[in-house]
């Protein structure tokens, strides 16, 4: 089946009433999570992973995609209305957005944020359609040695993200690899590190680990601090609309930010939090109305929001084609793929092409829901953004418990989730890297199989790992992957300092 036919079939399947209903619900949930300061997109996706268990994989992934996009946009609501970014991806939006709110133009700021997020997200889907299939074809040439290097590459790129120390990031990744060895040895068939628990026969369940590391740890983080009332959201004095002149004014910024967001999304180690600052910076650099910046510029809001939402599609490309997530949310989404019995890589574009293109179509449609829900529900979400941590703490915990129990209807997995929650809390406190642990857990079995099969094929000769140009290309990427977060962090820090971090 050619690509156009697959795209058409994908849209037909994505447009089923059930899918549309779930897309709307998922996007609304995502926006809600995003607008609550302290809750991240990764936490939301991890928490709601179990809800997708009984569903068709495409529908499940569409739901997770909806939460992802919704959460990235949702962060801008609290950034604009209460000057507190809901997610780090909206930090730059708070700079101009809150200034507009102070000027009595809160509705205008939200409309621009919503429109720019919609355009950024929608345009990023184009990249997904165009770049993902060729990259998947390249991945078809991979054999055991290449898969070993690929898993190592995945770890190196994530190791430096969100951790001040590269060594600590790498340690987190190796710790994840070590935890991934729990369970049955894939080659020798002997049980390893199971502590007498038959539940661990197939290894540590990735969903349990995800819920524990991202959601349960958040409960503990919220529980340690004094519960404080959030500031009241500003009253809306203007209308939710944009004039033709305003659309014309922000259009070049949106297109520029789309390109920025896409590149940042595809790049290893980068993410929406970096893209929003680059998008904002470039909007200011190219603006004809530089004097408006700092006092409430709609171009500034558009630049930041289009860039952070353009990351969503871009970041899916390496994850779906090579199995390399560039940041925490895509690592969680990859866990979602694996839970549905799908392995990221070329098979998603051959054997499971129908499912993949349905997900792509769903991802496109989610952007429309985001626009509609964002525009219609801003006032409601503004009130939700004030929800107290005192309510969130027990509510998230209960969802963590029910989610981890639902995986195999087993209380032991709830206990595992709690252990990972404790680990996640300590990891965050001591600046280790939870995403790298998850990635180690996901990539560990792929790397182990790749390495041990390669060595088996070569009678133990390690030179097989350096035998093809693709191996060398991947080794080079590993080196780049190790170095790129250093530059990315430096760039983000410089931009934050320059714009007086929101």
């Amino acid at each position: 089946m050619d690509t156009l036919a697959l795209m058409g079939t994908g849209f037909l399947q994505a447009l089923s009433p059930l899918n549309l209903l779930l897309m709307a619900a998922a996007t609304a949930v995502g926006v809600t999570i995003g607008c609550l300061p302290g809750l991240s997109a990764a936490m939301g996706v991890a928490l709601l992973l179990p809800v997708t268990f009984g569903m068709d994989p495409a529908t499940g992934l569409i739901i997770l995609g909806g939460i992802y996009c919704g959460a990235i946009f949702g962060g801008s609501i609290s950034a604009i209305l209460i000057h507190t970014p809901g997610t780090p991806a909206s930090a730059a939006t708070a700079i101009e957005g809150y200034q507009l709110t102070l000027r009595g133009q809160a509705a205008k700021a939200l409309t621009v944020a919503c429109f720019a997020s919609f355009c950024g997200g929608l345009l990023s889907c184009i990249s997904l359609y165009f770049f993902a299939p060729p990259l998947a074809q390249l991945a078809m040439k991979f054999k055991s040695p290449e898969y070993f290097w690929l898993s190592l590459f995945g770890l190196t790129i994530i190791a430096g993200v969100s951790s001040k120390s590269m060594i600590k990031g790498l340690m987190s990744g190796v710790l994840g690899l070590l935890i991934s060895t729990v369970g049955m040895d894939p080659m020798e068939g002997v049980p390893r590190f199971m502590f007498g628990q038959s539940t661990l026969y197939n290894g540590v369940d990735v969903t349990c680990a995800l819920i524990g590391l991202f959601s349960m740890s958040q409960v503990l983080i919220l529980a340690e601090k004094r519960i404080q009332a959030r500031p009241a959201a500003a009253k809306f004095k203007d209308r939710f609309s944009l004039t033709g002149a305003e659309v014309k004014k922000i259009s070049p910024t949106i297109i520029r930010s789309w390109i920025i967001g896409n590149i940042v999304g595809i790049l290893p180690g980068a993410g929406a939090s970096i893209a929003c600052f680059i998008g904002y910076n470039e909007a200011r650099r190219f603006s004809k109305n530089k004097e408006e910046f700092g006092k409430g510029s709609i171009e500034g809001v558009a630049g930041s929001e289009a860039a952070n939402n353009a990351v969503t599609g871009g970041s899916l490309i390496p994850m779906l084609t090579l199995g390399i997530p560039g940041e925490s949310v895509t690592a969680v989404l990859m866990g979602g793929l694996i839970i549905h019995g799908l392995q990221p890589g070329p098979e998603l574009f051959t054997t499971y092409a129908g499912m993949t293109y349905t997900f792509f179509a769903g991802f496109v449609l989610v952007q429309f829901f985001m626009l509609g829900i964002g525009m219609l529900g801003c006032k409601g979400f503004a009130n939700i953004a004030r929800l107290s941590d005192a309510i969130l703490i027990p509510s998230i915990f209960l969802l963590c418990v029910v989610g981890s129990y639902a995986i195999h209807n087993n209380v032991v997995e709830v206990a595992i989730m709690l252990i990972f929650g404790g680990v996640g809390y300590l990891v965050r406190k001591f600046d280790m890297n939870a995403t790298a642990i998850v990635l180690g857990l996901i990539l560990g079995p792929i790397g182990e199989r790749g390495l041990r099969r390669s060595l088996m094929l070569s009678d133990g000769d390690p030179s097989i790992l350096f035998s093809t140009p693709l191996c060398w290309a991947l080794i080079a990427l590993c080196v780049i992957g190790l170095l790129s977060p250093i530059f990315m962090n430096r760039m983000e820090r410089k931009l934050r300092e320059k714009h007086g971090a929101a």
Binding site: I167, L178, D185, F193, A223, K225, L398, L399, V402
Partner: protein, 165 residues
């Protein structure tokens, strides 16, 4: 070098040791891969310790981000960053939530998911001083949400407990 560094290094070494002891009990062919990982983790940990010690002895341990004065070459030393890491930490509130969460799991075993959940939610929200009306709304919304998604839609047989099972 900071106190948290000592904790991180000690925990990682302890993890390596635990896995090493268990690995050595496996048959020879199954030991190779875990041993490589343990060696890698221990190596990185040692490298981390070495960099920290280097900074400690050269007096270059600056923790500008935390706003803690950096030890100078004249006055090198161990920086206690724990007050900064646990700034605003409320032990009473934190441990109440942790103990309630563990107690909830035990209670779930006896009375089932929903009754245990109700008791847990009320206890934690009461401790965190949530107004009664908000408490009632939260319980209703969450109850309906979990029941409709997990019990009705996904048909997950949530624990009913020994008393009601």
């Amino acid at each position: 070098m900071t106190r948290s560094d000592i904790g991180v290094v000690a925990i990682i070494y302890a993890t390596c040791l635990l896995f090493l002891v268990m690995t050595l009990k496996l048959k020879a062919a199954a030991q190779v891969y875990p041993l490589c990982l343990i060696a890698g983790l221990a190596g990185l940990n040692t490298l981390y310790l070495a960099t920290r010690l280097w900074r400690l002895f050269t007096g270059r341990a600056a923790i500008e981000e935390a706003g803690i004065p950096a030890p100078t070459p004249e006055k090198p030393g161990l920086v206690n960053d724990l007050p900064e890491i646990f700034k605003g930490f409320l032990p009473g509130q934190f441990f109440f939530v942790v103990i309630a969460s563990v107690a909830y799991l035990a209670l779930m075993h006896y009375v089932g998911f929903y009754p245990a959940g109700l008791i847990y939610m009320v206890a934690v929200m009461w401790r965190l001083k949530v107004p009664l009306l908000h408490m009632a709304i939260t319980l209703a919304v969450l109850g309906i949400l979990i029941y409709s998604v997990f019990t009705l839609f996904l048909k997950v047989p949530l624990p009913r407990g020994i008393l009601f099972g």
